[in-house]
Amino acid sequence: MSPAERFARLPELLAADPDLCRRGRWLNADCRIDIGAEPFYLTLREGALADLARGPRLLRSVAFSISGTEEAWLRHWQQVPDPGWHDLFALTKRGAASFDGDLRPLLQNLQYFKDLLALPRRLPEAN
């Protein structure tokens, strides 16, 4: 399963984590996550994923985007990631990922987003 295919499983992974949804209950945001060359558009409403659109969407605006190389996500999603690949900011520090746009909703809900984007670690295929 490619990293993008893993990320496409996000709706079911988030739905299976009521605690994460609860922690994100104040959050409403639209953002873009790039898994390698493949963009995903996330519509988050009250901590739940109202929509996940895979692939390019022309002129679609988002508050912020997070881009990571395929290798970055692959290694980030190992059940026990190696040092330097285990956190979003470890990825940005090493240049394997980047943040763009209005980072306020990201920083206001940082632990939520870190945990959300680590969910594919729970897929058995990741190990």
């Binding site: 330097g84 956190d87 900011f89 520090k93 206001q108 940082l110 632990q111």
Partner: protein
């Protein structure tokens, strides 16, 4: 049934530092060689509670862990509301030396983590003869910043939650969930702008490049220990620093991150006990 009391005792010390009166909270346990413990930026002395409760340590060491001014239960100085808190190399060094002097500690060992580790390097540079041994956890002469500290103190972002969320990634994935979240809780409880003010020392004022070359480990032994999952003070930062200091003892700790003593006390014990054995010898 007897009450289940932890062995450490907490007290407040009145301390005059550069003409400013402070009320410093500290906890202590044990007897023997004084071992002063310095917590990380934006946190407090609870990070060392496992060392304070470890009989293997406290039978040989009098462990003392104080909350820095503005942190934990140490009251900020009168008039704090009229200034922006900023830690500097000079103010941090002054607090440590004042605490040791006021407590009449005879050549204490000092162990500090993160900013506490950085200031331990400064003690080795400038005041080595006053100490029996120096232990710097997660320390280097300089580290590349990995985020903008402006996010740590602004009205539209919850300070406690963003501080904890940022540093959460510095904890090793192997650390027990309860210890991970206890470590995060302390960050959530910091005063507004205090973590940011500590990082002023870390990023702006406390650059020790070049200066570490002057450390003489024959005057005072120096131990550097860094967790492999710490990407703030990465293993290569500590190893680069160690390479400039003849006689230094350096270790990279497996399955540990930036908060070894609180994120995984059992794992940290495997690394710190042999160091303390050598100091007690």
């Amino acid at each position: 049934m007897a009450p289940a009391l932890d062995p450490m005792i907490g007290r407040y010390l009145r301390l005059d530092i550069d003409g400013v009166t402070h009320r410093i909270y500290f906890e202590e346990a044990g007897q023997g060689i004084p071992l002063v413990c310095l917590h990380t930026a934006g946190a407090d002395n609870r990070q060392f509670r496992h060392l304070l409760a470890d009989p293997e340590i406290t039978r040989r060491f009098r462990v003392l862990a104080f909350d820095m001014p503005w942190h934990g239960k140490s009251t900020p100085p009168d008039g704090w509301e009229r200034e922006e808190y900023r830690l500097t190399t000079a103010s941090y060094t002054a607090v440590i030396r004042a605490f040791c002097k006021a407590m009449e500690l005879d050549k204490p060992a000092v162990m500090g983590c993160s900013i506490g580790g950085r200031i331990v390097l400064n003690l080795a540079i400038a005041h080595a003869a006053e100490f029996r041994a120096l232990i710097a956890l997660e320390a280097a002469d300089f580290q590349q910043p990995w985020y903008d500290t402006a996010w740590l103190h602004r009205p539209d972002v919850h300070g406690g939650e963003v501080c904890a969320a940022l540093i959460s990634g510095l904890i090793a994935p192997q650390s027990p969930p309860a210890s991970r979240h206890e470590t995060l809780w302390m960050y959530m409880q910091g005063g507004p702008g205090v973590f940011k003010g500590d990082l002023y020392f870390y990023r702006v004022d406390g650059d020790l490049r070049e200066k570490v070359k002057t450390i003489d480990t024959k005057v005072c032994p120096l131990y550097l220990l860094t967790g492999e999952y710490d990407f703030s003070c990465a293993a290569e930062d500590t190893l680069r620093t160690a390479a400039q200091i003849p006689g230094v003892d350096v270790q990279i700790m497996k399955e540990l991150g930036h908060f070894p003593m609180s994120e995984n006390p059992a794992k940290f014990r495997e690394y710190i006990l042999p160091v303390l054995d050598r100091i007690a010898r």
